[in-house]
């Protein structure tokens, strides 16, 4: 049996360390990893936990991220609890195998520490890699700080391994802003954390020699479509299992998470919708602009896949103006998040159709300041008062040179 680690009631961990401890407490059978900035410390810490006897599982060092995810797929198909971590280019290299994992319905947990994609080379945070993986058939969870990086990792195993789900799950955290920022984290004890996650239940493991199974066989037009439809159906309905896990985690820790989360939206007229660490900055800005008489609020989602169209549409439909913040390059379109939020509002009955605008920000971790956020709220307020867009739909924040605006 592995050694138990005595933890303080409050630990000072950065997002990476928080994720490492959650992986340790999950007692994973196999972690196959290839380190990449800024997720490197997750597997580095994990490696030292293995070396010091805190983990009774295999830690496989491979030659690339493609091999890391391949190792994870093999180990998960064999019938074990499996996890890894990556960022940016490494995630891009994993993409091919991500589709294998979701198609085979292997409940792997992947820590994605969000970082910009080259070229030009940039090791810092934005959400480009998150959007790269959005159609890969994985559940995507979003966190804002180290505490949440820890909590969501514990919950990710529960969600992925739920017998009604069995879909691999990504836990997103912002590169550096979360991964390298040390904060107070309240961990669970090893025993409580493991009991929350539970023993691993395998489904059709390759190592069951009495019931041999073939994984990933050729399907072609005969039934490829049906298998993909089956994955999509389960993914679209996985929000039920996800909410159940959120509820059980609340019962255990008194920390409440919801699929869609709101801040100060009761009487709000203008709202910023964002993901990741930006949510916390926007909350500060919302509080400050209320003193200027702007009824400001913040909305975020904890679950980017399955995208909560109905829940989000219901919450956003009554506001007057909404800013949708995309921390990635849309490359020839409106921001990815903008498109999905706009689509959500078209799904709900009696939507008053708030004025929507799209802000592209923070590419390669360009700072998003309180000044920027206040300016966005002021623009939203102008939209709300005019009941129409008073500026271009898509704008770039903090970009040097002439203003870049579209639509």
């Amino acid at each position: 049996m592995p050694n138990v680690m005595e933890l303080q009631e409050v630990e000072v961990w950065d997002g990476n360390m928080a994720a490492s401890h959650a992986l340790r407490q999950a007692q994973i059978d196999v972690v196959a990893a290839y380190p990449i900035t800024p997720s490197t410390p997750i597997v580095q810490n994990y490696g030292s936990f293995v070396s010091n006897g805190y983990i009774d599982g295999e830690f496989v060092l491979v030659e690339s991220e493609h091999a890391a995810m391949s190792g994870c797929v093999g180990a998960a198909a064999a019938g074990g609890r499996v996890a890894t971590a990556t960022s940016s280019q490494g995630f891009a290299l994993m993409i091919e195998v991500l589709y294998q994992a979701s198609g085979m319905r292997l409940p792997i947990v992947l820590n994605l520490v969000n970082r910009a994609l080259a070229s030009p080379l940039n090791i810092h945070g934005d959400h480009s890699d998150m959007y790269l993986g959005r159609d890969a058939g994985w559940i995507n969870l979003n966190t804002c700080n180290p505490q949440e990086a820890y909590d969501f990792n514990l919950m990710a195993f529960r969600i992925a391994e739920d017998m009604a789900v069995r879909i691999p799950t990504i836990v997103n955290q912002d590169g550096f802003l979360c991964s390298h920022t040390a904060q107070n984290v309240r961990p669970l004890s090893d025993e409580v954390a493991y009991n929350f996650i539970g023993d691993y239940q395998s489904k059709n493991p390759l190592l069951d020699f009495d019931k041999p199974a073939t994984y990933g066989a050729q399907a072609e037009e005969d039934w490829h479509f049906e298998h993909k439809a089956q994955l999509h159906n389960t993914l679209m309905h996985s929000d039920i299992a996800i909410q159940k896990v959120f509820d059980e985690f609340f019962d255990l820790t008194a920390r409440r998470y919801n699929i869609v989360e709101t801040y100060d939206t009761k009487d709000a007229e203008v709202v910023i919708f964002a993901l990741g660490t930006t949510v916390e900055s926007a909350r500060v800005a919302a509080k400050n602009v209320r003193e200027l008489g702007i009824k400001a609020g913040v909305v975020t989602i904890r679950v980017f896949r399955p995208f909560p169209y109905v829940k989000l549409g219901e919450i956003l439909k009554d506001f007057k103006a909404v800013a949708i913040m995309d921390k990635s390059l849309p490359a020839g379109a409106m921001g990815a998040l903008f498109n999905e939020v706009a689509a959500s509002l078209y799904q709900v009955q009696d939507s008053k159709h708030p004025v929507l605008s799209n802000y592209i920000y923070g590419l390669g971790e360009r700072d998003l300041t309180q000044v920027d956020l206040v300016k966005i709220y002021q623009e939203l307020d102008a939209n709300a008062k005019a009941a129409k867009l008073t500026h271009p739909t898509q704008q770039f924040i903090g970009l040097r040179g002439p203003k870049l605006s579209f639509c």
Partner: protein
């Protein structure tokens, strides 16, 4: 035909109707394969040429059996007993690895009768001397 909700999740296929360990003990043509097992799909139409086995020349070294990528070489009672033409794709690897002189597996046109092919078997090749 099955609908999308009738399939085992993860595109998993189960080759045998009964216990896999038991199936290992019997020859592949005696095993209880499921309908979805690839064993039930013929690939004969992929083939242009077919390998013909000549037991008169064969030394039962099992090279062809080891190298066949599809397990299409039939072995019974520790002897080679020809080719499973339902699963042979006609790749010719068995012929290539056959060490005897003349070779005990040779490629013939797929429509040629095996008896005729055996009658036309080449003679032993003389060793070349410098």
């Amino acid at each position: 035909m099955k609908g999308w909700n009738d399939f085992e999740i993860g595109a998993v296929l189960f080759p045998f109707k009964h216990q896999g360990q038991e199936a290992l003990a019997s020859h592949n043509n005696e095993r209880d394969y499921t309908q979805e097992s690839s064993f039930n799909s013929s690939v004969a139409h992929w083939r242009v040429d077919k390998p013909v086995h000549n037991s008169e020349v064969c030394i039962n070294c099992f090279n062809c059996w080891v190298y066949c990528p599809d397990g299409a070489i039939l072995a019974r009672d520790e002897k080679l007993r020809g080719v499973d033409y339902v699963h042979c794709k006609g790749c010719g690897v068995c012929v290539d690895v056959c060490p005897t002189n003349p070779k005990s597996l040779l490629m013939f046109s797929d429509h040629e009768d095996n008896q005729t092919a055996l009658k036309n078997w080449p003679k032993k090749e003389e060793k070349k001397r410098d």
